[in-house]
């Protein structure tokens, strides 16, 4: 259920931020009904809170798996799972309808906290679930503390990726969380750092979206939404890794570099996105201090370097 747009301190949440959350939520829910390489450019009066609110909107969206590769569990596959109070990566030694065995552990019941890792996924250590957010996660997911980790893991196969200024994003999450504990922001967003935190956090912060060659394993995965926060994130990010996932670019009007990015995008002459779901089209109207443009970036030639 979408929390009401309220804030305990600082008064009611500004309409611009509410609209941003709605755009992000609707964009995530419409992701499979929109054109490839959809770019939503939103200029904001300040980047403060913009990324966190947009990420919140995306996390709140319903996003069902559609035959995703992480669901294909078979013996011998490397998986990421929640077991014995920890996030573990292990090789699945046995699986049938009742139980699954991996890393000396036996898991019965729901399997939505187990995810097959793509081939080439980097090795990583087991991780504990931070106690300080456990209660927030449990409250946000309306479950008991005992199963909070499992429920948390189950909602992480398609994280929101936020590119640009990871520390500032984290500060915004903290600020928003302190604003009103009823929203359970820390638990809902719980940002991880880097794509290698996939399956362990609902939101991943990165400096920039990498090129396919830098993280080829990532092409097998699908984020729910790509949010680019600021001009640096935009300039440094690749836009070819997930062509099927829309990019929501948040550009500050205060920044001279942001002005240049907006001018450059206009100069690209990308065609405007026309075939959008009506609900999304309604939200993509300018107002409340937001400039909103929807473009479809032309598909890049696979070997355009060869032309040179």
């Amino acid at each position: 259920m979408v929390p009401k747009a309220q804030a305990g301190r600082g008064g009611n949440i500004p309409t611009g931020l509410i609209r941003l959350r709605e755009v992000s939520q609707c964009l995530t829910e419409s992701a499979c009904n929109v054109e490839r390489n959809l770019r939503i450019l939103v200029t904001v009066p300040t980047l403060r809170l913009a990324g966190a609110v947009a990420a919140l909107g995306s996390v709140l969206a319903e996003d069902a798996c559609r035959g995703c590769a992480h669901q294909y569990l078979e013996a011998g596959a490397r998986i990421s799972a929640w077991a014995s109070g920890r996030f573990v990566d292990a090789t699945l030694s046995y699986i049938d309808d009742q139980e699954a065995c991996f890393g000396g552990l036996r898991l019965r019941g729901k399997r939505d906290s187990m995810h097959r890792l793509p081939s080439g996924f980097p090795e990583r250590a087991d991780a504990r679930f931070p106690d300080e957010i456990r209660a927030d996660v449990a409250a946000g997911l309306a479950c008991t503390l005992g199963i909070a980790g499992q429920r948390h893991s189950a909602r992480c196969p398609h994280p929101v990726i936020v590119a640009g200024e990871p520390k500032a994003f984290r500060d915004d999450v903290e600020a928003l969380a302190a604003c009103d504990t009823r929203l359970h922001i820390r638990g809902r967003l719980d940002p991880g750092h880097g794509l290698t935190d996939w399956f362990r956090h609902p939101v991943l912060r990165v400096h920039a979206i990498p090129e396919l060659s830098e993280a080829p394993w990532a092409a097998e995965l699908r984020p729910r939404l790509l949010i680019v926060r600021g001009s640096v994130g935009w300039m440094a990010s690749s836009r070819r890794l997930w062509p099927g996932v829309p990019i929501l670019a948040l550009i500050s009007r205060r920044s001279p570099a942001g002005c240049e990015v907006a001018a450059t995008i206009r100069a690209f002459g990308w065609p405007r996105a026309i075939a959008l779901p009506p609900a999304l089209s309604d939200l993509l109207r300018p107002g409340h201090g937001l400039e909103v443009s929807a473009y479809v970036e032309p598909e890049a030639a696979p070997h355009d370097e060869d032309l040179w």
Partner: protein
Amino acid sequence: VTTIGDVFALWRAAEQPTVMVTRLPWPELEAVTNAAIGLRPSVERSTVAAEMLRGALSTRQLLSATPLPPNDGLAGISYLVRRINEFLEGHPGHSLDKSLRALQSSLVALLASSSIVGEWFANVLSEYGEDENGTPEAVVVVPRRAWVQAVRAWLHKEELTCADVMTPGDLRQCCTARKALILAGHPSSSFSSGWKAPDVAIREHGWLFTAPPAGTIRLALTADAPLLDEAALWLAPSQDHPILAIEDHGPRRETPSSHQWVTNTFDATFVRRTPRQHVDTDDGVPAIEVVTASRHSIFFNPELGPRRKL
């Protein structure tokens, strides 16, 4: 320390800011502008014409964007008058004699006048005070850092101490919203320079109107300044940006002179020079030939190089 309330206030301020434009007639400043524009066709062939044009427009930039009086040292009017005097005495019967004398007399008249913009600042600032935390409700925006100290001194002298003075660069870092943002001068000229064209300047500083750290923007424009083009303040195409409430109670017609000074004078592409290869002239002195837009050839000493670009 920025609180969540401060950030919310910034967002709210941008939702529907009010832009109140006041038109100020300043005939002496207009006369200087028109006299300086009269020198425009001569800048290609005359260093003094270029220098005076640049100087007069810099004076206009300062006087239309700050409350400083015409006799302030930063305006440089005395220098320009003295420089014209020296030139005319040293070059009797020069072809620019008439134009320079016209500029000189208009500068003298301007020097004797008082700043209309300063009066406006004084009136507007008297409407604002301090909030309960002792923070000034209004911020005076000064386009250049070099002018800040002089503006502060002027405000202190006028006992208008209930206002902060900031450059746009300072305001970018400022995360608290005030009641009013007070600025003067057309953004496309106030913030432009030899390195920043007017269209770029207004786009980069449009956020002072579209994402302001205050709910109200009070802007003073001289009567001959061009209209404040709302579309130029935003970054997105016209169908993608919100409508800004601009209250311009002044004359809304676009005069030829205002159009000329804002578009042509600062436009670097207006003067096109075509450098050619190093040539030896008939008198045996090596020189660099430059062909101007008017297809005149000018030869420069290869060591000293051409004069600075306008």
